[in-house]
Amino acid sequence: MTVSVGERRPLRNPKVLLRQEGEQGIAIDPDTESVHVMNATAVAIWVLCDGRTVPSEMVTAICDLSKLPWDVVEEDVQSILRQFEETSLITWEDST
């Protein structure tokens, strides 16, 4: 699929530190002194929040790899990004 024009791009909060512990990731936000435990998929999405990658690209890549249906993966990715946003782990960059 092609990237939608105007789709926003998630960007990791640069102050948040991620530590990998086996299949889990532990994100530590020093500003809020909060700790967030992530599963493997959430960690992978966190890695992809580089301010250049749009959610639809994440969904496509996960679909290619897992062979799961688009709508299932899209829902998961959106849900994870929403949680990241609500906990200030990411901000959103507008497409230029």
Partner: protein, 226 residues
Amino acid sequence: MADPSVKVLLADGHSLFREAMRVVLEAQEDLSVVAEASDGMQALAEARVNEPDVALIDLQLPNSDGLRTTASLADSQPSCRTLVLSDDDDEELLVLALEAGASGFISKSSPIHELLSATRRVHSGETVVPPQMLGGLLGRLISRRRERDHALRLLARLTSREREVLASLARGADNAGIARALVISPETARTHVQNVLHKLELHSRLEAAAFVMQSDLLDELEEARV
């Protein structure tokens, strides 16, 4: 009654490792080792005879390495799913293994319970990737897709004749060869080549061939000819 256990082929160059693995796998009620191989050629031969459900293939196999063996297995035994065992958590090797047809990739330094779990998951149809490598792998997949999308946009600039010329260039043809294949004069072939290079923003025939191969466009060009 048919045996319900998952039939496993074990391919590794080190007999001690194979023997240890066999003991562990055979201790599982749902797994049985139907064949062992110490090199790639033997792995392919054993797979033909024993028709395993899952092949555990070491990347460093002697005599046809693990990647080639995986690709050959995918061709000759499509029902057999392959779990590649690697000494390193190397993202490039992971990508190459998946492209060769592997269904999973696991480090040989993983705990044994992870290997058993990966074997079962691969058999059940999952693609198994070490969690710590998943983000990097997805990043590479996204980069490749971007490059391919860019290449396809450039390709759309070409006429169907120019696409035929590009396909010939990718196969190493010179102007005379292109002219013969397309039944045109060498001068016309030369003009087409110049137009192709200009439209693709390339500077040489070699770059044109690399453009096609790196973006995996040869099938695309061949299909357009049919």
